[in-house]
Symmetry: C2
Subunit: 145 residues, 2 copies
Amino acid sequence: MKYSRTYAEDVKVGDELPPLVKGPIQQIQLTRYAGASGDFNPIHQDHEFAKAAGMDDVFAHGMLSMGFVAQCVTDWAGPAAVRKLGVRFAAIVRLKDTVTCRGRVLGKSSKDDVHLVELEIWAENQRGEKVVTGKATVALPSRDG
Amino acid sequence: MKYSRTYAEDVKVGDELPPLVKGPIQQIQLTRYAGASGDFNPIHQDHEFAKAAGMDDVFAHGMLSMGFVAQCVTDWAGPAAVRKLGVRFAAIVRLKDTVTCRGRVLGKSSKDDVHLVELEIWAENQRGEKVVTGKATVALPSRDG
């Protein structure tokens, strides 16, 4: 049984990954993320605390946005496929924002029966502003087994 | 009010971040992470499914390990400080593993009153095997304000 449905042979440079849409972001999701991650920083939970820290309101954990982008990749390549993932945090994700995660194939290489695909990945909000940009490397199975 | 307690002036190359210990990893944490992230892939939840996919047992979402490493960084630098974060997934995190996240200052630079610190970051399991390796860039405040 394979846990990837994407094969190296079927991928070409320029291919786009199916977009993954997350949102609108709600407070309860930030609360759940705190519970799951153990990151209970009040700047993601407490409106008054966030205001006192100079923000308009609470905002999403950067790792939540990064997780969305990673899920866009793993939905396409399979959960065990991701070898590398790197992102730059370009803008804050706020409550009620809707985040769309996207990816595009930048390159392919094969060595010793390992088929690597390099991806450009990013997430943008409902205003088309990029909130996360980065790259990922995934290992894809071959149809030859 | 500042949400970072680490100032650029106080950081020097070679400094180590306070380690962050997570674990032993329990199934309920993977279940919570699924709920928070929306990644319900059964390979992280269902023992029988994981066995059928060729794994010994369920294993942690890579993004959970990455989140641990990120939390090690944000505990030190503040949640809004992280500009870039990139990791390589070196080994799978299994149930009952304990993951220790660490970081070390690789370099510092300042430009236009922005003080950037580059970090080497990694996480290792209880056998000392690295499960995640990577780099992060954080922006730190100056004591001058």
